[in-house]
């Protein structure tokens, strides 16, 4: 059993035109920087991307958008990206907006082998259009189907060669959820360690979900909203 790849290019070698990819991260926090760069380099086309956000103009998924590699974007929030706006208005880009909790849950249930769930978000809004509704205890729910992906690409803090992952702070976000939902899940990690180096009691994503893993490099970890406070004298 060897899940270890030497770099992003090798880990994504069989990602081809037209596939569906999930990408972890919230904003620019915890995004799989190495794999995104490799996808840009490979120049695969016609991708359907499922990701909470769409990056910014020159970073994250924005890099794939700029090269028009994305055919369809499924996300909850895509602000702060002028190229995105241009492609959307020109009809080059198809967009499906999904409430953030619904997005997370639709990925999660794929990893639980659950085909759909009833969720509250979006009842009475345009999100509900065309969706089946059910009632329980006087509340209305929308039937939401699981999101599956040909490839799920996640970024973790540390991972071992068996694929067990731990995330750092709020970089966990969608990474831990999407890791379970890929037909093939690729994890890039800041530090790749040997089995036994991670405490089994504190694994965020068990290795059974991870098909490929590699140690990434040159993480930029760009901050979107740099907010600090002054130190008292």
């Amino acid at each position: 059993m060897n899940k270890v790849f030497s770099n992003a290019d090798e880990a994504i070698h069989d990602i081809s035109n037209g596939v569906t990819i999930m990408l972890g991260g919230f904003g620019l926090c915890g995004i799989p920087e190495n794999c995104i760069a490799a996808l840009v380099k490979k120049n695969v086309q016609g991708l359907t991307c499922i990701s909470n956000n769409a990056g910014v103009d020159d970073f994250g998924l924005g890099l794939l958008l700029k090269k028009r590699q994305i055919k369809k974007m499924i996300a909850s929030y895509v602000g702060e990206n002028a190229e995105f706006e241009r492609q959307l208005l020109s009809g080059e880009l198809e967009v499906e907006l999904v409430p953030q909790g619904t997005l997370a849950t639709r990925c999660m249930i794929a990893g639980f082998g659950i085909p759909f769930v009833p969720l509250l978000a979006g009842v009475g809004t345009e999100v509900a259009e065309g969706k089946e509704m059910v009632e329980r205890q006087g509340r209305q729910y929308l039937i939401e189907e699981a999101f599956h992906a040909d490839f799920a690409i996640v970024k973790a803090w540390k991972g071992d060669t068996m694929g067990n992952l731990i995330f750092k702070d709020t970089a966990r976000n969608f990474n831990a959820v999407m890791a379970t939902a890929g037909k093939v899940t690729i994890a890039e990690v800041e530090e790749l360690v040997q089995p036994g180096a991670l405490d089994p009691n504190f694994i965020h994503t068990p290795g059974i979900y991870i098909h490929r893993i590699f140690q990434g490099k040159n993480y930029e970890k760009r901050i979107e909203q740099h907010t600090v406070r002054k130190r008292n004298a």
Partner: protein, 218 residues
């Protein structure tokens, strides 16, 4: 005089109760954290996966892996917990968050809220707003009473695409505090120096307001 944004936040902070788990949206709601009353302990939830959000980090201590739902660098307080996005919205949906404070473009007198989309303009997406308003037990809207054109944002019905239906419980604007009663907006308090007449004129939806409605004290 109409309330400042800081005062709106300050007034909302009075709604906090000891032990509350609170989700604060971007903008005025974020300011509420600055006015938590003495002797009360609340825990801030950020829907990207954090309970126990602390203040912004000191310069030089910011960590790109430690942000809030507004993508701002933040800190975590002792006793905080990190979790994934599905768990985060799971706890919201299950009603574990006691209070959600968020902004709005429009609120209808039946509690409908619109705050995510202006047709014809750029659509940024709803983010977590639809999840929050659909699930939170207690939703307070923090907003200006009128839009930049001077039109009321408290309406008989929303003109913009909805974020959620019949979910808002209370609104704090620069002019006062309003409950949603089932018979429309009920003015609970007016801002210092703001007249009952002005509130009536600037509220387009159904409004009940007493001539002697109490004035807020700061």
């Amino acid at each position: 005089m109409a309330l400042s944004k800081e005062q709106i936040a300050q007034r909302i902070a009075r709604e906090l109760q000891d032990g509350f788990y609170v989700n604060l949206g971007i903008g005025i709601p974020t300011l509420v954290a600055n006015y938590i009353p003495e002797g009360i302990s609340v825990v801030l939830q950020s829907e990207n996966g954090l309970l126990g959000m602390g203040p912004f980090p000191f310069e030089g201590e910011e960590d790109p892996d430690m942000i809030n739902a507004g993508k701002q660098t933040v800190t975590k307080l002792p006793g905080s917990a990190i979790f994934d996005s599905a768990t985060s919205f799971g706890m919201i949906r299950a009603g574990k968050v006691d209070l959600t404070v968020l902004g709005a473009m429009e609120v209808a007198d039946n509690g409908d809220i619109a705050n995510w989309k202006i047709p014809g303009k750029m659509v940024k997406g709803m983010g977590g707003a639809m999840d929050l308003v659909a699930a939170a037990k207690n939703i307070i809207v923090a907003m200006q009473h009128t839009n930049p054109k001077g039109h009321s944002k408290l309406l008989p019905q929303c003109s913009l695409p909805l974020t959620g239906v019949q979910c808002v419980r209370k609104i704090v604007t620069d002019l006062g505090v309003f409950s949603i009663t089932g018979q429309g907006f009920h003015c609970d308090e007016r801002a210092p120096g703001v007249s009952v007449q002005e509130i009536k004129e600037k509220t387009a939806g159904r409004l009940s307001i007493a001539d002697d409605v109490p004035e807020m004290v700061f």
